[in-house]
């Protein structure tokens, strides 16, 4: 024991269980670090070996980059951030401290951890640390058939399940080459736009709650409940519906759905008007959001920021207009744009988008075509129950679809839809089998979490929560 070098090797020699002090050391002045530690019998900051401090806080990938490497990334953006409060950099390096926000902080919308380097109240550096919800869903997707695929992807972005299912189904249909009947397309548009409304209402609820307007949370959830009840009536589930599938949708709209939509179109605009009354001219709300968390259009493009967050910066880009899918080009709607790219603009853009989505819903209600709700391609769609009793071929098709699953031709396809958060892309690779070879989901929240340092650096620590809430991240979509 005596010849063991005096090095600290991990938890075996935790400072709190240090050896009892030798005789006389208590009376002596605590001049050495070791003695001071024993005196207090706790771990006194600054008395540890430098090497040990590093090991105890460093968690590899969860470590802040050396600062010298960060400006390199900032200059690559090619634009200077001009929206920040603090521009002079006079404070001493020693005055900085690193704190963690999360992973279980209530306003991180799941389990996101932000490592913040603070200088007083100014944030100098941010590192988002993700992966707490990673469950290997892309690996799981390779073990599920094409028909089971939507059950998996619908759980990724759990606030916009219909968009996940739609992107996956459209990508599979690209490779299959099946035409979707008009009624199925209209149902898809109806459900995804209602989903956008539900997701934006949840955003309004949480955005309000995160910056102190707690009553907003109850109001937002109240109106969202109307949407979820309609989803439950149509699909049987409030979330994770597995309703939009390759070849169409799982079931036709229930009887009396028109009345539900009419009621919904009454309730939600009234509710949103109530929120606007509460927030739009509220000086506290405006103080907390105006000029906060700004991102420029150039930064949006370089970081892959899409959706309402990019549109709030003035990027005129909506996939429903540019690359229309599922017949959405037949509906009339506007794309609201912001100007300043701050938190307030993101709120306003989303409020307008609720109204635009309701416009689409009304048009879908008025122009809902009749016909089949799924394709009649028997290789993809199971035959009607009645046909199984009559036709041997129908029986075989039914059996093949539900045992082996249908096969999808060789190839690669990328399909993006405009989810409530931005571009939700699905890249699928098929090798001709009954299961996908690779399913990659490009979630908008992943890019938004990556861009958080751009929005937060050199702003105040109180604005972190407002900025984070304004990008509306869903951590299930980030970690997959």
């Amino acid at each position: 024991m005596s010849d063991t070098p005096n090095v600290v090797t991990g938890d075996l020699e935790a400072p709190s269980v240090a050896a009892p002090p030798e005789t006389g050391s208590l009376s002596a002045a605590p001049d050495t670090a070791d003695a001071r530690r024993r005196l207090h019998d706790v771990w006194v900051a600054g008395t540890e070996e430098p090497e040990r401090v590093y090991r105890a806080t460093d968690e590899g990938a969860q470590e802040l980059l050396p600062e010298i490497q960060e400006p390199a990334l900032a200059t690559q953006r090619g634009v200077l951030v001009s929206d920040d409060y603090v521009t002079e950099d006079t404070a001493d390096e020693d005055e900085r401290q690193i704190i963690n926000m999360g992973p279980q902080h209530p306003s991180t919308h799941g389990v996101l951890r932000l490592q913040l380097e603070l200088e007083g109240e100014t944030i100098r550096r941010v590192k988002p640390i993700i992966g707490y919800l990673h469950t290997g869903m892309e690996k799981t997707a390779e073990t599920l058939t094409w028909l089971q695929g939507p059950t998996n992807v619908t759980r990724m972005d759990y606030l916009s399940p219909f968009h996940n299912e739609l992107a996956f189904s459209l990508a599979v249909e690209q490779l299959l080459g099946v035409e979707i009947p008009p009624r199925a397309q209209a149902i898809r548009v109806l459900m995804t736009e209602l989903n956008r409304v539900a997701s934006h209402l949840l955003f309004l609820a949480t955005q309000g709650m995160d910056i102190g307007a707690v009553s907003m949370m109850i109001y937002g959830w109240r109106e969202r409940e109307v949407c979820l009840q309609f989803f439950e009536k149509v699909t049987g589930l409030r979330m994770n519906h597995n309703y939009i599938r390759p070849g169409g949708v799982a079931a036709d709209l229930p009887d009396g759905w028109e009345d539900d939509i009419e009621a919904l179109l009454e309730v939600i605009p009234a509710g949103v008007a109530e929120y606007q009354e509460l927030l739009d001219e509220n000086p506290i709300f405006i103080d907390r959001t105006q000029g906060v968390g700004v991102i420029t259009p150039e930064e949006c493009k370089a970081f892959g920021v899409t959706g309402p967050t990019a549109r709030a910066s003035g990027v005129d880009w909506d996939l429903r207009k540019v690359f229309p899918y599922s017949g959405i080009e037949r509906y009339e709607f506007d794309v609201p744009l912001g100007r300043y790219g701050d938190v307030l603009d993101r709120y306003k853009v989303r409020v307008r988008e609720v109204h635009e989505s309701l416009r689409i819903v009304r048009q879908a209600l008025e122009t809902m075509p009749s016909g089949d709700y799924r394709t009649d391609d028997r290789k993809v769609t199971p035959p009607p129950r009645k046909r199984i009793d009559e036709s041997m071929e129908a029986l075989i098709h039914h059996f093949k679809i539900f045992t082996e699953g249908f096969k999808v031709p060789d190839g690669e396809a990328y399909q993006a839809v405009e989810s409530p958060r931005g571009e939700l892309g699905v890249y699928i690779v098929s090798t001709g089998g009954a299961k996908p070879w690779r399913v990659h989901v490009r979630g908008p929240s992943f890019a938004h979490v990556q861009a958080l340092p751009v929005m937060m650096t050199d702003s105040l620590v109180a604005d972190v929560i407002a900025t984070l809430a304004s990008t509306d991240p869903v951590l299930g979509d980030v970690d997959r």
């Binding site: 990334l73 399909q415 890249y427």
Partner: protein, 180 residues
Amino acid sequence: MTQEPSDAAAPAPPPHPVPDDPVLAGLAGEFPAVAFTIFAPCPGPAQDIAHVPADDYPVFVAAVRRAGYDVFVDLCGVDYLQRRPRFEVVVTLLSHAMRRRLRIRVGVAGADPVVASITDLFPGANFYERETFDLFGIRFLGHPDLTRILLPDDWEGHPLRKDYSVGSVPVQFKGAHQAS
């Protein structure tokens, strides 16, 4: 019959068909080793695809960015296992001005999967390259912080590789004797 010497002196035809689009045709002239294809599904938008050798990849991405594809959308890996090269890195870029997407597919050898990083061109590729490193073990040269992002640091292996088992939950009492 052997060919005439005059034919041999004629310029060789381009190795790949030249795309119709003027921007892509310009890129095809600049990079003769890059093959352009178009995937035109019956429902859905046509998709431009560039098959890029790994050596040309960072230079090609820089040229594509200059040509107007300035929005970073996506980067992911694919493990083809039986194919050579085994891995593929798939980058999706977007041009708002031209309203076009471009998919760049880069083959990466399976023995030593290394490819250049494009974080100096598109900072948004940072997390995506970390994810691809984490799940496929493809290393991106020049990446500022190539560490695991979704999995813990001490995780062994790269789960989205095809030779990585999905695993299973052990079944209890599987080997127990049947009650007779």
